[in-house]
Symmetry: none
């Protein structure tokens, strides 16, 4: 095996430094780590001397001093409630730099900056869809953004060079560019991020008064649904407060679904009650099937199930042969029982190659279901 | 693959056979696989000849014939809505056997059997807290119950020998015994299993009308909170219908929390609104902190995440190299974002080999998270 880096490490960096990062928490320090790994000069600042020193110690960049040259790009990675302040200050302090931010809400800071009359020519808002339950530079990682969507909110006034600079940073960090308006972004994250956060937190909150006995029966379902309830309440108060309208609308609709479900279950004799319950559960199946990278129920791919001996070599051989056959695997899931002699590889492929894949695999001696 | 029993096979089995399993789906076939691994004779029956033949093919037992001797214990693993029927029939057909069931609701079938005047001396209800999103013998595994709580509902009339027999099966399958009344059980699973299921399903249902753009921003939080929304609606209609009262009460309370949260967010100027939001989010932190064993989705294995180029050859290479390194992969999941060049292989291994696996993989040039 060669020592060359696997993945995207080999391509030349797009970003030209120096890059200045304001806010050295999880996101800021991860940006720094990722860019430094690509050989880009990164300077850091943070209101907390301890935080910035910690991030520098982890290799996320060096603490910026007055002697440093002006940055080509400034990345604001502060908490949401001070993001507009930090962006305004960066635009004023570094008039030649392009300024972006990675705040998880995009409309509120933009409206605030506009209200203040700040010249936003050099500002391009962005939001990498990456995070962890715990924040801080201590949790930072260079690959935090790899393969994650990175939303860029441009408008007609955004200069092409400014856009290119911000996109370059996102691409250098491994992100997948997605262009949206601030309104589209905020509604979208309201649905896929903020609503699940509130739902998970309130579900977990129901466990506070539970008996030890009940908690003792917890399984994987409860663990998964409540995992993000461990997130920082203060950060989430800021995010939810900055995205109030879409989140309230979503919570109202979700609450109405909960009430409708409870009513149908309460009085199963009423006309259509069973049907309403079944419809909502089936809608859940369809909804989860729409999530990309979600196993099992994707409508875009056909799943082929191949029987394999329950040994690691067998699966490697199967995948190698799929490669030889030129069959592109879109997803894979392994099922095996330690008590059974056989396992199953569930391989998702494009519908148009499914039939040929099965024929070719069977010809090579594989058993399919 | 050696024929020697794995896992807890070294201890002598407590269960004396033959054991008869009624219902050869996920739970029934897993019971069969696990008991057979301990050398216990298992017979199977199912309304569907295809299902029972499939379970027998997997090694979960042999199809019961009229020539078979009477079983010492009968395990009913049918869908909930026919569990009471199956228990009654088993008690009548095998008067010398102890009968248990693994139905996920315990009060409703007991009340139904009592209403019918069935002699329940030889019946001990039980419920192993184990399952998977997808059912069927094809998903069965011998270790499904290992380290999972197994609730036993005895009452004063339960003979000691009957209790010992049922507990023996649970222990032989690796379960952790927990004694509860049917009422305690149903309230507990309402909270830790049924409420999360409805919440997850209704959250996922909100994704049905979402734009592609919004869905494209989905991350790990949404995936985790909606994972169990992929569960079988028909099975869940039966479970929820059989545990109506506790679930409706929990849904009402949860719905009230959602409404209170939405109201506080809607009108942040009202007195105490911010405090109410903070309190609910903080309660979520405390609630999730109460869940035992909250690390990763499986307690038995450690998950290693390896970055791979999004091409079939890369994954095959990774698995081949794992085989060369002598690292046994217990489970594998592939995650990749559409449009990204990079995917993630999540590989479950035994905790004791995880560190070596990471070191060896990194040495060979792989990037791990």
């Amino acid at each position: 095996m060669s020592a060359a880096p696997k993945g995207n490490g080999a391509r030349a960096a797009r970003t030209r430094g120096p890059v200045h990062v304001i806010g050295a928490g999880l996101l800021g320090a991860s940006v720094g780590l990722g860019l430094r790994e690509r050989g880009i000069d990164v300077t850091l600042e943070d209101l907390s001397p301890t935080t910035v020193a910690l991030a520098a110690d982890y290799g996320a960049g060096r603490v910026r001093t007055a002697a440093d040259p002006a940055p080509a790009i400034v990345i604001v990675a502060t908490p949401p409630d001070v993001a507009a302040d930090a962006v305004e200050r960066a635009l004023t302090s570094f008039p030649s730099a392009v300024v972006t931010d990675v705040t998880s809400v995009k409309l509120a800071p933009l409206l605030e900056l506009t209200r203040r009359g700040v010249d936003l020519t050099n500002y391009v808002g962005s939001h990498p869809m990456a995070g962890r339950e715990r924040g801080g530079a201590i949790m930072a990682r260079a690959d935090l953004f790899v393969a994650r969507p990175w939303v860029i909110c441009r408008d007609e006034a955004t200069p092409a060079e400014a856009l290119t600079l911000v996109e370059g940073v996102a691409l250098d960090l491994g992100g997948v560019l997605i262009e949206m308006t601030p309104e589209e972004h905020d509604r979208s994250v309201g649905l896929v991020s903020h609503l699940p956060q509130v739902v998970s937190s309130l579900l977990a909150a129901r466990l506070v008064p539970a008996t030890e006995q009940a908690i003792g029966l917890a399984g994987g379902g409860l663990r998964d649904t409540t995992r993000i309830a461990a997130s920082d309440p203060e950060l989430w108060m800021q995010i939810l407060g900055a995205n109030r309208e879409p989140v309230v609308e979503l919570l109202d609709a979700f609450g109405a679904d909960i009430a409708a479900f409870a009513d149908a279950l309460r009085d199963p004799a009423q006309t259509g009650a069973k049907r309403r319950i079944a419809d909502l559960l089936a809608a859940g199946n369809r909804g989860v099937g729409r999530i990309p990278g979600k196993h099992g129920s994707s409508e875009r791919f056909t799943t082929i199930t191949v029987l394999i001996d329950d040994t690691p070599g067998q699966l490697g051989l199967l995948l190698t042969e799929l490669g030889e056959l030129g069959i592109n695997m879109e997803d894979l899931r392994l099922e095996h029982s330690p008590g059974a002699q056989i396992g199953f590889a569930e391989i998702a492929v494009l519908p148009e190659v499914a039939e040929r894949a099965i024929t070719d695999l069977v010809e090579r001696g594989w058993r399919t279901l």
